[in-house]
Symmetry: C2
C-alpha cells in the first residue's frame, strides 16, 4: 500500500461487505452519551435504526421516542428484562453504568438479541466473565469506537506493514473535566465504586490508550505498574482522579499512559518504532479533528488528516454500521467478549498495582 | 507577559548580565560529544574559549589542539590531575564516562577551578555525593542543556504564570539508535555498568524528561515506578535497552516516560494542565528544529518556533555562555550539585523500582 493509497483511502470502509439491510437497535440506557452521541450516530448510519428506547421510566424513554420517528417502543428496564417488545428490535446497545451491563446484556441474550456493550465491559473482571458466559449464544461486540476510527485503522495497517520498523514505545493519554460534563446529570455513577467498578478514571478513560495500543500493536499486556490519587472531594470514593500507568506488551513494547477526570480536555496517541513514529493528535476526543502524522527515520514527515467530524457522531456511526454489517451478515463481530476480557484483566491489574505499589502481571 | 512578548523574546537571553569577559575552558574528555558539540559551541560562544584539551594521550589531546588556535595546552588525564597548565584555564568541562566524573571534578576543584560537569553527575548516588562534597569550594554546574534551551525556559514561564492552569500530567520520551552513534568509537562505555552506573538508557536519556519535568514544573519527584529490559546482545550487561518509568511529583503531577537506545531518533515533552497544555515536539534532540505549542481550553492554539538550529551547537552555546556569565561575575551557577543529586536519587530509585518490581520513594 502506498502513501497515496492511505491518503485516498482514509475514509474507505475497509470492513464493509453488507450491501443492504437494517439492524433494528434497542438503546438500553439513555444518559448523555446515548442521547447526544449514539442517537445522532444511528440516525446518520447506513444500516442501523433506533426502534426501542429503554430507561428507568416510561417518561424518560419516551423523550427519546418522541425525538425519533423510528422508535416504536419506549420501555422501562424491567419491561426490557421481562421481554417486552422483543419483536421490535434485533440488537441491544447497552450504555448503562458499568455495573449494570451484566444484567441487561444477559437479558438481551436471553431474548436472543445481538449485543453492542459499552466499554469497560463491566465493573469487575468477575462480572465481565459472567457477562461473556451469559452472551455466549448471541453476537457480542464491545464498543471500542477507536477500532472503527479510520485513522486508528490506518495506524494499525502502517505498523503491521512495518512503516515504522518494530514498535518500541507508546505514549497515550486522555484527560477531561468530568465534573463539568456530569454536573446536573445522572452520570455521577462514574464516582460511585459500586457502579463504576475498581475506580473511575482508568476505567473510563484509561481504557482508550490501553485498548488502542492493543489494537494498533496487535499485542497484549503482560505486566503493569501504576500510580494514582484523588485530591478533589468529588473523587473521595474513588482512587483515581488522576493516574499514570505503564504496560509492558508481549512484543516488548512499553506504553506510558496518563489519565485524568479533572484536567483540560486532551488526548493523544503515539507509537515510536525502530525506523519511525506515528502520532495521532488529538486522539480519542471525537469532537476535535485528528491529525495522523507519520515521521520516518530519514526525516520525511507526512500528515494524514481526514477532515472530519461532527462531534462523536462520525466515529460512532462507523461503529454502529460495522456492528450491523457483521450481525446482519451472520458474522461474529469483533472486538468480542474475549478481547474485552483482556482489558478487564489489565484494568484490574492496574488498580491492584496502584494499591499494592507493585508491578502486577496480567494473567 | 503577553504572547507577543513570548514570541519576540524567544531568543532573548533572560539570564545574561555579563557585559564582557572570557572564561578559559579546559575540555576534559574528548569523545564525540565534546569534539562535535562542545568545541563548536564554545567557538560560537560570546564568553568562552577553549584553552586546554585533556584526553587519554597527548596524541588525542593534540588533535583538538590542532583544530583550535585558542588551545595552548594538550594534556593527558594524569597531567591534568597533577595540576599541569593550571594557569591556562579558569574552568573545566568534564565530559568523560560517568564513573570518572568524580576523579576529574575533584582534581579541578583541587586546582580551584570552576566546573561544568556533564549529566548524569556520576555513575551512582554515593559517588555523586562525594563529587558534590569534593567541589564544595568551587562553582559547580551540571550540564542540563535543556535548562538553557529558550523554548524550555518559555515553557517554564508559561507554566509558572498559570497559562495552562495547574499541571496534571507530563509525557516525556527520548529514543535514539545508540549502536549507530557509538559503533567504532570509544563511547561503548555507555554499555559498561562499571562506567555508566546503574544502567545505560535511563542514565543517558531518561535524565532528559526527568530533569526537564523538574525544571518546567518547579517540583521534585516523590515516588517512581519502572519497567525495563534488554533484548539486543550489545545490551547484555545493562538492564535497560528499553525502559518506561513514571514519576509522581510533590505537586501531584504525574510524568509518564519512555526511553530507548535502540529506536528511531525521537524526543518529545508535553505538559497537560487543568486549563490547557504545552507541547515541545521534537524535544531534546538539538539537531531538529523544535516547535513549542500552547493549546488552551477554549480551543486557541499558538505555535512558538524559534527557527534554530545548528545541530546541538546552539543549545550548548547557550549553556556555555550562561555558565561563563555566572562564573565570571562570581555568582553561583545553577543547576548546581544539590539540584543534580535529586536526579541521582531519582535515577537510583528508577533502577531499584525496575529491579524490585515495586514503587520506590525518592528519599
Amino acid at each position: 500500500m502506498t502513501v497515496d493509497d492511505y491518503l485516498s483511502g482514509i475514509r474507505q470502509r475497509d470492513w464493509e461487505e453488507l450491501e443492504s439491510g437494517t439492524l433494528r437497535v434497542a438503546l438500553v440506557g439513555l444518559g448523555w452519551w446515548t442521547r447526544e452521541q449514539a442517537v445522532p450516530a444511528i440516525r446518520e448510519s447506513k444500516f442501523c435504526e433506533t426502534t426501542v428506547a429503554v430507561s428507568s421510566s416510561h417518561e424518560k424513554a419516551e423523550t427519546v421516542a418522541h425525538d425519533s420517528s423510528t422508535v416504536s417502543a419506549a420501555l422501562t428496564y424491567d419491561e426490557f428484562v421481562n421481554g417486552d417488545a422483543t419483536d421490535e428490535y434485533d440488537a441491544a446497545y447497552v450504555c448503562t453504568p458499568n455495573a449494570s451491563h451484566l444484567q441487561y446484556v444477559s437479558a438481551a441474550a436471553d431474548h436472543g438479541k445481538a449485543v453492542l456493550c459499552e466499554k469497560p465491559m463491566e465493573a469487575t473482571l468477575d462480572r465481565a466473565e459472567e457477562l461473556v458466559a451469559a452472551a455466549e449464544d448471541v453476537p457480542l461486540m464491545v464498543a471500542y469506537r477507536m477500532q472503527t476510527d479510520p485513522q486508528v485503522r490506518r495506524m494499525r495497517e502502517l505498523v503491521r506493514d512495518g512503516a515504522i520498523g518494530d514498535p518500541v514505545a507508546v505514549h497515550g493519554h486522555m484527560e477531561q473535566q468530568m465534573l463539568d460534563v456530569v454536573s446536573g446529570n445522572p452520570d455521577q455513577w462514574r464516582l460511585d465504586p459500586d457502579l463504576a467498578g475498581y475506580g473511575s478514571t482508568v476505567m473510563d478513560l484509561g481504557i482508550y490508550p490501553l485498548n488502542t495500543a492493543r489494537f494498533v500493536l496487535d499485542a497484549d499486556p503482560m505486566s503493569v505498574t501504576a500510580q494514582m490519587h484523588s485530591e478533589h472531594e468529588a473523587f473521595d470514593d474513588v482512587p483515581d482522579e488522576h493516574a499514570t500507568f505503564s504496560l509492558r506488551f508481549d512484543d516488548g513494547t512499553y506504553a506510558a499512559c496518563t489519565v485524568s477526570q479533572n484536567a483540560h480536555l486532551s488526548g493523544g496517541f503515539r507509537v515510536i518504532g525502530t525506523e519511525g513514529e506515528l502520532r495521532l493528535d488529538p486522539a480519542f476526543l471525537g469532537a476535535t479533528p485528528q491529525t495522523l502524522t507519520l515521521r520516518l527515520a530519514d526525516g520525511r514527515e507526512m500528515e494524514i488528516d481526514d477532515g472530519r467530524r461532527d462531534l462523536f457522531g462520525d466515529e460512532m456511526t462507523e461503529e454502529f454500521d460495522y456492528f450491523a454489517d457483521r450481525v446482519v451478515r451472520g458474522v461474529e463481530p469483533t472486538p468480542d467478549g474475549e478481547h474485552a476480557l483482556v482489558d478487564m484483566r489489565t484494568l484490574a491489574a492496574i488498580y491492584e498495582a496502584a494499591e499494592t505499589e507493585r508491578r502486577v502481571s496480567v494473567e
